[in-house]
């Protein structure tokens, strides 16, 4: 036991010594990365999609030839300012906790008369194939820019979803033994050069959640939170969840709850 303890202590001391020697190089790398990110910030291609989403929101479409202007995202029909920042939440009319995307699809089905399969077929874009959902979510997200995230999860159904999200966050499986927590449960770590953030804290979850939806330069597309989390599961080498799956909404509820109070800065732009 004592031996084990000593081993750990020696290990920590060795790491600390290393950290010192690489610090100078690291800070230069960090400076150049900051320069890179700053250069991208002015001129975010997500802005092009936001304009498109704005058009789609007010355009009369679908079998019912209706716009989405009466869509209730939780603050009342047509109330968009700050709506994204307070999702996911419990909706009486469906009896479910819904995130921005499941609620948007609900509106497209109920208000515009689309079939769910029809509107979700292209839920994310591919080169040369635009996604209406991506554009709409970018537009809806931008309407919460500058607003604090507010998901207290005080309704019992919301509290339950947040708790179930926490369970999934720590659940390990697959050929790499991954869970969300192994990369996102500690302070001050990075994967390659990307800061990870501790998503169990307000700061970490806030930094992560406030910039979505976000234009990803590595993908050449805006990613919604559903897309982000479904891809996390792909990276964990797990099978593919359904779009709008409850497990994804549960994770979102958990993360938004942790991030509550953080001011949104969206659409973001990142690697």
């Amino acid at each position: 036991m004592i031996q084990r303890l000593l081993k750990t202590l020696v290990g920590v001391a060795t790491i600390a010594a290393f950290a010192g020697s690489v610090l100078a190089q690291d800070s230069k790398v960090a400076d150049e990365l900051a320069k890179y990110r700053e250069a991208l910030a002015d001129g975010n291609p997500a802005d092009l999609l936001e304009v498109k989403g704005e058009g789609l929101w007010s355009e009369k479409r679908g079998p019912k030839q209706a716009s989405l202007e009466q869509c209730d995202l939780g603050l009342g029909p047509g109330k968009l300012e700050g709506a994204y920042a307070q999702l996911p939440k419990y909706f009486k009319d469906t009896g479910k906790v819904m995130d921005v995307e499941s609620r948007l699809v609900h509106c497209m089905v109920t208000l515009q008369g689309f079939k769910q399969e029809q509107v979700t077929r292209q839920w994310f874009s591919k080169p040369g194939q635009d996604s209406d959902i991506e554009a709409l979510v970018t537009f809806i997200g931008a309407k919460s820019n500058g607003k604090p995230i507010n998901v207290p999860a005080s309704h019992p159904e919301e509290a339950k979803m947040a708790k179930m999200g926490e369970y999934i966050f720590y659940r390990r499986s697959g050929p790499q033994d991954f869970s969300c927590a192994i990369c996102h449960g500690q302070e001050g770590k990075r994967i390659r050069l990307q800061d990870l953030g501790n998503l169990t804290t307000k700061d970490g979850a806030g930094t992560a959640m406030k910039t979505w939806p976000s234009y990803r330069v590595s993908q050449g597309a805006v990613w919604t939170m559903q897309r982000r989390l479904i891809d996390c599961m792909r990276q964990a080498r797990w099978p593919e969840p359904n779009y709008l799956a409850d497990s994804i909404i549960a994770l979102e509820t958990y993360l938004q709850k942790n991030a509550t109070g953080t001011v949104m800065e969206t659409p973001g732009i990142k690697r």
């Binding site: 690489v22 926490e166 050929p175 033994d177």
Partner: protein, 215 residues
């Protein structure tokens, strides 16, 4: 933080004040853990193959680590470490140190094994160790992660004794044999890397000619 926990558990165990309980007081999901497991399982596309879905199954290590947020009480941790140590297999040839150049390639590769329908890896895509995602290794690679400790000059510092070589091999094969619930994958246990591939990564860490040690 983790060290604090380790200290706490180590000390409490040493004083005989057993910290072992069947369940931690704050298990993730609380009273909804069972519901959450069911919901999670039923959230996947029905056209995922059975073989893919099997990747969601958890062994005892995974279950315990999740339950304790990767900080199991020391006694449980030791039990898991013994369990995992028993899984380690060695290459048929018996040689634990291979070709550092092969290891260097594997350390940089982060692809392989992705499934699903959006961006799966094509069949036969090389599965790498993705060591740089979490560790600093060769000096010239600046894009390294910090989830794990720096391994720069691994061999230069520790030498190339048989014990060190075996330690490196065992650690890569099954990291949980040393530290239960570490963030590091169990590369050998899951056949993510073959024993031969592991020997190449061992060489990358230990061979004096490897850029890990040379620069």
């Amino acid at each position: 933080m983790k060290l604090k926990f380790a200290l706490f558990f180590a000390l409490s165990a040493a004083f005989g004040a057993s910290a072992q309980a069947d369940k931690p007081v704050d298990a993730p999901g609380g009273k909804f853990a069972k519901d959450a497991e069911q919901m999670f399982r039923s959230s996947f596309r029905t056209d995922n193959s059975k073989y893919w879905m099997a990747r969601l199954d958890q062994d005892e290590t995974m279950k315990t680590c999740g339950l304790y947020r990767d900080n199991p009480p020391r006694k449980l941790g030791e039990k898991l470490e013994k369990l995992n140590a028993a899984t380690i297999r060695y290459p048929v040839e018996g040689k634990l140190i291979g070709d550092w150049k092969e290891g260097e390639k594997l350390a940089a590769v982060g692809t392989g094994g992705h499934i699903g329908f959006i961006q799966p890896d094509p069949a036969g895509k090389l599965r790498g160790g993705n060591c740089y995602a979490c560790h600093q290794l060769a000096k010239q690679e600046v894009a390294y992660g910090t989830i794990g400790p720096s391994l720069q000059h691994f061999g230069k510092i520790r030498g190339n004794s048989e014990e060190i070589i075996k330690y490196a091999y065992d650690k890569i094969y099954n990291s949980n044999a040393f530290t239960a619930c570490t963030n590091m994958p169990r590369f050998g246990l899951h056949s993510w890397l073959t024993p031969e591939q592991i020997t190449h990564i061992v060489a990358f860490l230990i061979d004096p000619e490897s850029p890990v040690n040379k620069d």
